[in-house]
Symmetry: C2
Subunit: 170 residues, 2 copies
């Protein structure tokens, strides 16, 4: 089987200091923007942060965001409700983009973790203040990423659970 | 470059009558269950529908679900709020699983489209009634899928949009 980064993907919270080239970042963002969205409304923006002081402050968004602290790059995904033609779908669209980015990061041999923000109000407000976001721009999630010495190629056991599968009826 | 199904994925709404083997369905579901979720809460279930009468009724969920009508398989992804340890994250988790499934379908050479349900109340109620779902089980989205004669291997132009990318600040 060809490289199976859907099954290889795992949450990686330890990163090397090695910087990440802009071509890698571009590829990750392009993967995000290749995700489907409701009626192709593409409601997202991406704030790519490499400034260590800003990353330090991002890592204090919530108890789950601590792993960002030592990452060379953190990407904040935001949803723009002014672009919404299908009301209420922006978090769904942002989630698909975020997952695409995690898979692309895996494909490129780096490690990353999804740091949930939406729908926790305190986390959203914290980031809205930190980045002085316009009112239509809603923080959705952060991805902290970098090269890692965690072994990403080892076999994962299947996460298939037959008790979650139903045929033709509930 | 190896097969790049993140960029190849597209919405496919026309399917051949050819049946889809259970091994293919298993692989798609396993990809869905390989998605990350908040605190690994894995709040999803999957209803795999091949019964044509049920598919016919699913295709009437909303104006966007019409393409399901001629699909040999439709999968309904649901979120179980009784499994939620991180309140409000179930739609985010279900979206990541749904995107993984679309990518796996692309990898396997089939075509599919994401039919949005959540957060539209009428669509959720319609499916809750159709499948007589327990109250903790919330319809999230449907995927209609099948073999297709749409050309899935042609080069896609990049969907990268530099106006959506910000560095270190908004």
């Amino acid at each position: 089987m060809i490289q199976d980064f859907i099954r290889q993907r795992r949450s990686v919270r330890k990163y090397l200091a090695r910087p990440v080239d802009i071509e890698i970042i571009h590829s990750i963002l392009e993967a995000g923007m290749s995700a489907p969205s409701a009626g192709n409304q593409r409601p997202w923006d991406f704030i790519v942060v490499t400034d260590h002081d800003v990353i330090e402050r991002m890592s204090k968004t919530g108890p789950n965001s601590l792993p960002a602290k030592d990452a060379p790059v953190v990407i904040l995904i935001t949803g723009d409700t002014s672009r919404e033609r299908y009301k209420g779908y922006w978090p769904v669209d942002c989630a698909a983009a975020t997952e695409n980015m995690l898979l692309e990061i895996t494909r490129l041999g780096l490690g990353a973790v999804w740091l949930g923000v939406h729908p926790v109000a305190e986390r959203k407000e914290y980031l809205q203040n930190l980045f002085q976001l316009p009112s239509a721009i809603h923080p959705f999630a952060m991805i902290s990423l970098g090269y890692t010495d965690v072994d990403l190629n080892n076999e994962r056991e299947s996460r298939y659970d037959m008790s979650r599968v139903h045929y033709n009826r509930w």
